[in-house]
Point group: none
Chain length 284, copies 2
DNA sequence: TAAAAATGTTGAATTATAATTTCAATAGCG
DNA sequence: CGCTATTGAAATTATAATTCAACATTTTTA
C-alpha cells in the first residue's frame, strides 16, 4: 500500500508507450506538483491527454490515479537530514522549511553532545542561592537574555536583562556577593560584554558565560563557562539563526535543572504566576 | 505539503464539533483505510455524513479531502514519533538535557509538518512590499516579536516590536495601507493582542498571526494565519518552553523565504550590517 | 428565570468537479 | 495493405464540495 510510486515509474519508463512515458517523465520531474493537480492538468502539462495518465496508472498495476497519488505522497516524505546546509536563491518554501528544521535540530543535538555536566551543576548551584541574576547580552544575544530573565522571574528569582552598558555597570558596581552576572555572546568577543565581565570580576561578583564552543575572551573571563555548539552557521550569512535556538536550549536546561531541584517551590511559583496573569486579564 | 495530517487531527480534536470529531477519531483509528475510501464511505463508517468530512478538512485549514489524503499518506510511511515527555523532580542533569532536546526537536518537527505553504507564500508576498512591519506580542511572545524585528531590520525592512498597547494603538492609528501588523500569541487568546488586531482590521491594515495550531480568536481575526504545532507543552507547566522554539522556527522560515526571494539585496544588506557593527566596535 | 433571538451544527439533496471509459481516428509494423 | 496498438476528445460515471432547511445550542433580553 505504501510508497514506491516513483520507483515504479522509473522501472517502467522504457516499456511504456510514448504518451504514458511523457506522463511518467513529467511526474518524475515534478513529483510534488502532481499532488494537487487533476488528471487533465497533468495530461496537458505533459503535452498529452488525461486518459494517458489513467492508462499509466493501470500500466503500473495500480487501481487508479488516487492510488498513484497516495504512493507518491509517501515517497515525498523527507528523508532525515544530517549536517548543516545553506540556503540558495530562489529556493522553494518547502525546501527552506526542511533545511531550516534540519539545521535547527542539528544545532540542538550538537549542543547537547558538548554539555559539560559538572560545569552545568556548578552553574545551577551558583544560581540557586543567588539574590539577583543579571543577564547581559546585546543584539541577538539580548533576546536570549530577555528570555532567561522571564524564565527566572517565573520562579521568583530576581533577574535583569538590560542592554544599556552604563546601566549594567551601575548595577554591577552596586551588586552584592550574592549576585550573579550571566553574560551571553555567541562570538565570545563582543566588546561590551567583555567590559561588563571584567568589571564584574574586579568587583568580585560571580560570573557565568554562554558562548559558542571554543576559546574566547568572554569564556576565559567567566568563572563558569557554558557553551553552545559552534555550527557552520552557514544559513545565509545571517549570523544568528540556529545558534540562537541552541542558546535558548541551554537556558531551558538551566531553568529546568533549577526547577527540578526545588520542585514544589517551582510548581507553586508557576501557578501563582498563572493566577496573576489571569487576574490582570479577566479581573477576577 | 508534507504529511502531518494525523498530527493536525490530534491537535484539533478537542475543538471540533461532534460530527467532525467523529470523523477525526475514525481517521486516527483507521488512517490506512481512508486512503482508498470516498468521502461518503468515511462519513457513513464514522456514523455521520460525508459533508462532515469536507468540513473537517476545512477546519484543519486544508483545501479539501485530497489534501488530507496526501498528508496522511505521508504520515503512514514514516516511523512513529516519540512524543513529548515531562520532567520529574530530582531528575538528573543528563536526563533533563536529553528530554529537553527531544521535546525541542519534536516541536520543530511537528511545526514543520503542519505548515500550510500557500499561507506561507501569502505571508511572504504581503511582507515583501510592506513599508513597515509592526510585530506585537506580550510576555514570552514579545521575545519572538523582538527576534523577528531584529531579523527584519537586518534586511532593511522597517520593523517595530513594542509591548506598550497604547503605543502600538497609536502606531496602527497612523499606519499606512502598506504597513503590516504581525501578531504573536501562543494561546491565540491574549486580550491585548486581540484588541490590537481588531484595531488593525478596522483601520484596514493587513494582519498576520502566529498562534498555536487550531481555532483561536487571534487566528480568526487575522488575514493570514501562521501556526506552530500545539504540542503537549508538558514541560513543567512552564507554559513557554518548546513552543517558543517552534515560533522562532517559523520566524526563521519567514525571514529566509523573504531573503531568498531578494537574494542579492539580502546579502548586501547583511554585509552592510556587519560592517556597521564592526565600525561601532573597532572604530575603523 | 423564561422566552426570544442569534449563532452554530447537522446531513440529505444538489451541484460542481474530477476520474474513468468509450470509441473513432490514426500511427506503426509485418 | 491489413492488422494491432496507441491516442485524445467526448461521454459517462464517480466523487468531492456546496447549499440549505431543520435542528440544537448558546446568548441576550424582558
Amino acid at each position: 500500500m505504501s510508497a514506491g510510486g516513483l520507483k515504479m515509474l522509473q522501472n517502467m519508463l522504457e516499456q511504456l508507450p510514448a504518451s504514458e512515458r511523457k506522463i511518467a517523465q513529467f511526474i518524475l520531474e515534478n513529483p510534488r506538483s502532481i499532488l494537487d493537480s487533476t488528471v487533465n492538468e497533468i495530461g496537458v502539462q505533459a503535452k498529452t491527454s488525461g486518459a494517458a495518465v489513467i492508462r499509466l496508472c493501470k500500466s503500473l498495476g495500480l487501481n487508479g490515479f488516487q492510488d498513484l497519488k497516495v504512493r507518491i505522497a509517501g515517497d515525498l516524505v523527507k528523508p532525515v537530514e544530517q549536517g548543516y546546509r545553506d540556503i540558495a536563491p530562489g529556493e522553494s518554501y518547502f525546501s527552506i522549511a526542511q533545511k531550516t528544521a534540519s539545521n535547527s535540530i542539528q544545532s540542538i543535538r550538537d549542543t547537547e553532545e558538548i554539555i559539560n555536566y559538572e560545569e552545568l551543576e556548578r552553574a545551577v548551584q551558583t544560581l540557586l542561592p543567588a539574590q539577583n541574576v543579571h543577564f547581559f547580552g546585546i543584539g541577538a544575544s539580548n533576546i536570549i537574555a530577555k528570555d532567561a530573565q522571564q524564565k527566572f522571574l517565573r520562579i521568583q528569582k530576581n533577574a535583569t536583562a538590560f542592554t544599556d552598558t552604563h546601566l549594567v555597570a551601575t548595577i554591577i558596581a552596586n551588586a552584592s556577593k550574592e549576585d550573579v552576572v550571566f553574560c551571553i555572546s555567541h562570538s565570545g568577543e563582543t566588546a561590551e560584554v567583555i567590559k561588563v565581565l571584567s568589571l564584574a570580576k574586579e568587583r568580585g561578583v560571580k560570573t557565568i558565560s554562554l558562548t559558542k564552543y571554543g576559546q574566547s575572551s568572554v569564556a576565559s573571563l567567566a568563572d563558569i563557562k557554558l557553551f553552545t555548539s559552534y555550527s557552520g552557521e552557514a544559513a545565509f550569512r545571517s549570523g544568528a539563526t540556529s545558534s540562537r535556538l541552541a542558546q535558548l536550549y541551554m537556558i531551558d536546561i538551566l531553568f529546568l535543572s533549577m526547577a527540578t531541584v526545588q520542585y514544589e517551590h517551582t510548581i507553586q511559583a508557576i501557578d501563582q504566576t498563572r493566577e496573576a496573569i489571569r487576574f490582570i486579564k479577566d479581573g477576577n
